[in-house]
Symmetry: C2
Subunit: 369 residues, 2 copies
């Protein structure tokens, strides 16, 4: 309890006062002490908070979502972080459905999760069912990527066991969730990845995805440079079954070729744009093949959903974890909370840990304990 109080009275956070490159503008700062929660609020300590690709875009100021701000010595500081698992420490007198030591994840966007503790509206969090199978790493990473995969596999096409879906960026956090969740539905996946530096590295990646449950893996380069052959290969794999769903986080030429593999009436669902290139779609695919090109954004889904629906999807993901269908993402924990570190020192630890880009690699999780 003493530790808990300490965290509430000297909270630490990753903040920034202007937009820019994360390693230019992010700082570890000590924030003002938290007051007691008001009737509808809860006090939480964050257990683990991921550093997601979209967070970088928020810091750069190129993402259509605004961070929370907190006043430090009269200067408004932006609070980074969108996803986390937290433990409830104290609840406001009006809060009935939560109690201290409950684990919660974020049910609203941009709550500023890169900090040791916070006051949150009790309606902005989702209580996790107690489940020993769900590790802290699982819990910290289950609000965005796995539900994005689950919703995209559920909301556009009625998939039946034995059906196929195709996706690019298959080794991304969402992509690996797609592989595993599809497998749990007995749905086959055709997975596109970028070629690595050597054929051995590519082969290792292919093997990693197959171990995870990927049915087939193809490289973007194979698809782009020999599209006809790649389409024939895909037809052999699917044995003539229609491809009705493609999931896209890349864009550009690779996605144009991806779309050409689809059957009449298929959906292309875009949730990312790693190539930074626009989608280029031959109009005939819309007109004559009835292609539907749409987008998915988990933040919109949360904003448009009821508390009940938010709890529902968290429970769905917890069940997938409990049944062994969803692994922890490959990750690296960065500890920024120690009071033996000054804010300056913790900032250096942060900079050393941040990747230069977000194409692959381990997921970084901040720990302010």
């Amino acid at each position: 309890m003493r530790n808990t109080l300490l965290r509430l009275t000297q909270p630490r956070a990753i903040t920034y006062t202007q937009n820019g490159s994360p390693t230019d503008v992010l700082r570890v700062s000590t924030l003002p002490s938290l007051p007691a929660p008001s009737p509808a609020q809860i006090a939480v300590k964050f257990l683990l908070s991921p550093y997601n690709p979209a967070d970088m875009n928020v810091v750069q100021g190129v993402y259509p979502a605004r961070p929370q701000t907190v006043d430090v010595n009269g200067v408004p500081h932006n609070l980074g972080g969108n996803e986390a698992v937290a433990e409830v420490v104290q609840v406001g007198e009006g809060v009935k459905h939560l109690q201290p030591s409950d684990r919660v994840i974020m049910g609203a966007s941009q709550l500023g999760t890169w900090r040791s503790s916070a006051l949150l509206n009790s309606s902005d969090v989702i209580k996790l069912p107690p489940s020993p199978a769900v590790s802290t790493v699982h819990a910290a990473t289950l609000a965005i990527n796995p539900p994005t995969a689950l919703r995209m596999l559920s909301d556009y096409v009625q998939l039946r066991p034995g059906d196929y879906v195709i996706q690019n960026g298959a080794n991304s956090a969402v992509g690996t969730s797609v592989i595993q969740i599809a497998k749990s539905m007995n749905v086959h996946t055709i997975n596109l990845v970028r070629e690595r530096g050597s054929s051995e590295e590519t082969e290792a990646l292919v093997q990693e995805l197959k171990n995870m449950g990927a049915t087939h893996v193809l490289t973007n380069e194979q698809l782009i440079n020999d599209a006809k052959n790649a389409r024939r290969t895909i037809k052999e794999w699917t044995q003539g079954k229609d491809l009705k769903l493609a999931l896209n986080c890349v864009g550009g030429q690779e996605t144009t070729e991806l779309v050409k593999t689809l059957a009449e009436g298929a959906h292309l669902v875009t949730y990312g744009a790693m190539s930074k290139k626009p989608l280029s779609i031959p109009p005939g695919l819309h007109i004559f093949k009835d292609l539907k090109s749409v987008g998915f954004w988990m933040s919109r889904w949360y904003a448009q959903s009821s508390q009940e629906q938010r709890r529902g999807i968290a429970n769905d993901i917890v069940k997938l974890i409990e049944t062994g269908n969803l692994r922890e993402p490959s990750h690296q924990i960065v500890r920024l909370g120690g009071h033996d570190q000054t804010d300056e020192q913790a900032t250096q630890v942060l900079y050393n840990a941040l990747p230069s880009s977000h194409t692959g690699g381990k997921k970084i999780l901040f720990d302010f304990a």
Copy 2:
């Protein structure tokens, strides 16, 4: 009756034996005489048959629809033509809902309408309600363009009086139908057209569209070259009302700029590709603005609809004509039926009439009487 029999015994048609440019491969030919209709068939004489842009693509072999063929002296000839109005001349003994002198339009695709007469399955035509307001030109052109406009204005977004839609290719056959049908729904239109050779010609076109009911007209060039200003102008026009529906028959850069004017959750409906360029869509519009990009093809609608639905949409268009809401398209009738012409001479008449391209100009209607 003698004339009618003559037409049935010496039918004339525009045919081709190989794909290619229409003025290279099309021929006016005399076909074998027609037998009496079988029980489910009807014999019709075609009154007027349009030459539509898509017909040219079928002749070129670049359209995903196959023509009917007929055997002439042992050589299979492709029959051109997809749309027409015809008069029933004779009905098979099993046909109860049609009788001689009924006017019918085509309810199935690629029936080969560029001919003087034909045997058709009675289920492949739609009987027009007798209506003196509906001219032969109206009737010949009401199966494809006006219903394309009506469906696109009805099937994606619930439009209410006072709402706005935006479209490009506004002076196309579908575009002018959109203007008029939207006006009949008290829906405002923002219309994009290509700049003409001179500002006087552009102004004349703008005025023509406004006379038809266009609320606002903007040129593609204004939108592309000064997109920010164009978007501001559009915002002023709509007075902040959301643009939820864009209709596209152009593609390329112009359509990318068009899409940027849309509100969250809007539909882009593509039904043509006059620029021959792909759609280029910034992925953020899908992900963060929930843009839905789809295609519309009237042939698919007919193929997926019941007889009842087909009759329903014909009646809807007839009502729009009867209430003065839909004008005859600007057109030119090309007579190919006279028996004072040889097939060779008629072929020359055809070549002289065919436009070099399909970008604007009057609609050509073939008359084999």
